[in-house]
Subunit: 213 residues, 2 copies
Amino acid sequence: MCRKAELARRKYLHKDCIIIEGTVGVVTTRHEKVEGAKQEDSITVPDFNLGNGFKELLESEVGWDVVFRVGDETFRAHKSILAARSPFFRAQFFGLAGDPYLNEVIVDDVHPSIFKAMLLFIYTDELPDVHDTTSSSHSSTATNMMQHLLVAADLYNLDRLKVFCESKLFDELTTTSVATTLALAEQHQCAQLKAVCLKFAACPANLGGNLCC
Amino acid sequence: MCRKAELARRKYLHKDCIIIEGTVGVVTTRHEKVEGAKQEDSITVPDFNLGNGFKELLESEVGWDVVFRVGDETFRAHKSILAARSPFFRAQFFGLAGDPYLNEVIVDDVHPSIFKAMLLFIYTDELPDVHDTTSSSHSSTATNMMQHLLVAADLYNLDRLKVFCESKLFDELTTTSVATTLALAEQHQCAQLKAVCLKFAACPANLGGNLCC
């Protein structure tokens, strides 16, 4: 089963239609006899796995050339990978006013667990599970983590991560969280999130009324 | 797998189209009214795009720290990205006997167009079109390119690229290419490709006989 919102998020809903994607393999049979032996066989190529090697590099710290001191934690990373993914880091290390010899960066404005999750996203385009990222002393909920990640994504110009956080915050929008989320959307120029928050808040049912929009 | 004649018999073929029937069950949720404002909206997250930033970095050469001289061409690249994707490069730059200060590498045994395609694969996990890669003076066919790429993939320990080439070579296997491909499979320990080549070659029809296996 798949929720309508999830279908919409994945672009499978178009007006009143649902888009169903499938793969149809067509086997040409002109050379059926000659290629008889081929028809029955195949060589399976492993799945796309670009992120695996980068994740392993991040975790092993092999060849690191910059260290981030975030609170009481340190993270070793690779300037070229950071520059490939974040315009902020590209400018910081290789921009006109950047410093390619910079090998230590102090980060004051991001929690270590959030910075760690952001680094993983930079290296793999994916986020860890909330429980893998938040330390036991940090009572972050998924919503809280997404709020902080959105702030970090905005700071480091990680556009896809920012929209990913907006989408997650929207999915988890409740009457309790809508005010904070709306304020965050306003502060960080999240036009889509702001619009859906306003629409959600304007619905009488969500404000304790009896009638829904 | 379903034969075309069978599809036509069941009236699933209409001109150039195949008709695919499915059943979609729609479950209305109990909280639909309360979440009315959410159900209609969505925030669309851009597709997974890890390769884009790395491709752009490779093409722009921003922050490069190693140059490869391949024939009469030079390619600037990033050691950490190469190390993330290729055990060969990881050992060359950061292994026990490696040299992290190495910033120029002479490559004698790979054609520039093949090295360029391999670099793109390292950065993006994808290959370019054959025509984008081969220069006008290099009369490479797709098969020829895949044969050379397989050799390079084996040399630089790019396992997925190697299997990808094996798969392509198998797809393009003909009575003309089977001997070369089999020899290549033997030389580079491609067990799967070797097995299918032997099976293909053993088919009497592929050896000029009148009967097919």
